[in-house]
Symmetry: C2
Subunit: 331 residues, 2 copies
DNA sequence: AACATTTGCGAAATCATTTGCGAAAACGTT
DNA sequence: AACGTTTTCGCAAATGATTTCGCAAATGTT
């Protein structure tokens, strides 16, 4: 248990002032090359590491970004986080990740924690029923840019980066149309969530206007288990749908379980298409065709927006990441 | 962009010294009740929040734990992290999560980052080929307890908390025996990883000694895709195995894909059993039977060990979390 | 009344680093 | 030689909170 090396110690050993050591280490032009060399050498030997807290205290900034998500066990967020980390690293920042569970109280604590530790910027995907903006406002007031992503608040004047829900749903609808499906089963998540509503309306509208004779049955399923139960029921009926649309990975996994239960063949017995980040679809054979909503791409966009805010962008902006179709042979 | 409130500001407004304000806020007996009341009131109104960096600078401790994992997109780690967070919160600590990707360089950076930010303790699951202990030693030398979990180094004198690899493999072998399997296919991960070796030897030994007439075929697969390819090949052969053991989720997902490819029925055509944390197995119908290795339980154990180390436990210890069988109907 | 103890609070040091300003030395210019 | 300029570096303040020490007044003890 040896104490960490400090500038003071180096300065004592070299018989020069602390200030000079500090400047030498950061290649300040005021310092001569020889002095720099000596300082760097000793610092190397004693492996000096600057005290992050002293620096943050001085600069009032921590060179780290905060990411707050409902939960990290989610492939979409994982990719988002990966993208942010990748970019952050390039700029010499690090990233801390905080989970809010489904507890608004915890989300609050997380925000406060980020503010206390003076993060440089904050990326937030809020919890379903989180509506209180005061805590976020406070954060922005103290000079920390906040970028909302994926689950963004309805509140208008804030920076948002989200996936193209409508577009992804439209892509899926198009596939249904092109494949000439006549009886489509579409399963959506909790109808209280705006994401479900927007995907549903986009999907149904596109299908109805381009294939008016196609029958659409919609089901709501709040989790994988519900999707499993309800899909199984729907698939058992005499008039089995010839195409199934799953608006999320959770729903897709439930549907696939139902399909296995009934020993149906894909895509001959029924076709399947989903909106997904890509992990779940490739677990099956044939792999599931999906409209991709890439957390990675979203992360890159969010980071770019963050940089703009840090550079002093004053206005707020809503950015939408486009979706692409990934063919897997399931429809 | 208003600057945060400081003790100084409060002291100025109240016409008392900074020291008194500080003590009043932490209920120091030296301070009179009236003074305390006044201070607390003003602090409340101005919503004063102590500067975390100043405190950490003084105390050389950050009241936060670091968790370093290869990647967070892993249900095992998610549960581990959840457990640590839950416990940490109870004790007034927070948690920062860092990913190493599969890059040893990044693992190093992560460790350094934790040391720089003077985390109270560090939980680490190392990368496959990480063997250099000097960085960890340095961390412990500076007074930060390090608890290894799951993927632990072979190095002896360090604190480790791991799942009962052998036991889980033995449980799976027992199921094979009880079901009277005669031709078992067992798929293991990268043979360079100790986890693969220990699971393999435990599984094979148990099976051989209790069911000497059972044929065992072992395959190595370093990822899901390899498991898929090789399992498909093995399952196509005339003499199809009647039981498959998958040592991990990754392998299981590849095997299941092969099974779907060949349209085999589970468990009638062949049985499947895995070692898993539980997420992947319940994606299929029938759900896959597995020997559970619980990240959550492991997290609780790791935290307890951490507390012991912080309290001054000097010796090192290796703790094993037991595994239980979860029946899913796949064998 | 003389002394001891308790109460309530402030001054100043401390943590490690950064930085504006000043100072001394070295150098160049006329 | 006198002056201006550049180079190189140190002093000291500042960041925000904690904590040791000590002071003065109030209270208690004999």
């Amino acid at each position: 248990m040896k104490a960490p090396v400090t500038l003071k110690q180096l300065s004592l050993l070299l018989n020069i002032s602390i200030a000079t050591v500090s400047r030498a280490l950061k290649d300040h032009p005021d310092i001569s090359v020889e002095t720099k060399k000596k300082v760097r050498e000793l610092a190397g030997i004693m492996d000096y590491e600057p005290n992050a807290y002293a620096i943050s205290l001085k600069t009032n900034n921590s060179k780290e970004f905060g990411i707050i998500v409902p939960e990290i066990s989610n492939y979409f967020y994982n990719y988002f986080i990966a993208a942010i980390e990748e970019e952050a690293r390039r700029y010499g920042y690090s990233v801390i990740i905080l989970q809010s569970g489904n507890d608004p109280q915890q989300e609050l604590e997380n925000i406060r924690r980020c503010r206390k530790s003076r993060v440089t910027g904050l990326f937030v995907s809020t919890i379903t029923d989180s509506v209180d903006m005061t805590e976020f406002k406070k954060t922005e007031d103290s000079g920390i840019p906040v970028i909302f992503f994926d689950k963004v608040p309805a509140y208008n004047s804030c920076n948002k980066v989200c996936v193209a829900d409508e577009q992804a749903a439209t892509i899926a609808a198009h596939v249904m149309i092109n494949k000439g499906k006549k009886d489509v089963l579409a399963i959506f998540g909790d109808s209280n969530m705006s994401i479900s509503a927007s995907r549903k309306s986009a999907f149904c509208e596109e299908l109805r206007s381009n294939a008016p004779d196609c029958k659409i049955t919609t089901i709501e399923a709040r989790n994988s288990e519900e999707a499993y139960q309800r899909a199984a029921k729907a698939l058992k009926s005499k008039k089995r749908p010839d195409g199934i649309f799953c608006m999320s990975d959770e729903i897709l996994s439930g549907v696939m379980k139902a399909i296995q239960l009934l020993k149906l063949n894909i895509p001959s017995d029924t076709g399947v298409i989903a909106i997904s980040n890509g992990f779940i679809p490739q677990l099956y054979y044939p792999e599931i065709t999906y409209a991709e909503t890439s957390g990675f791409k979203l992360g890159k966009l969010a980071f770019a927006r963050m940089m703009a805010c840090m550079a002093g962008s004053t206005f707020t902006q809503t950015i939408i990441a486009e979706s692409v179709l990934v063919n897997g042979g399931s429809i």
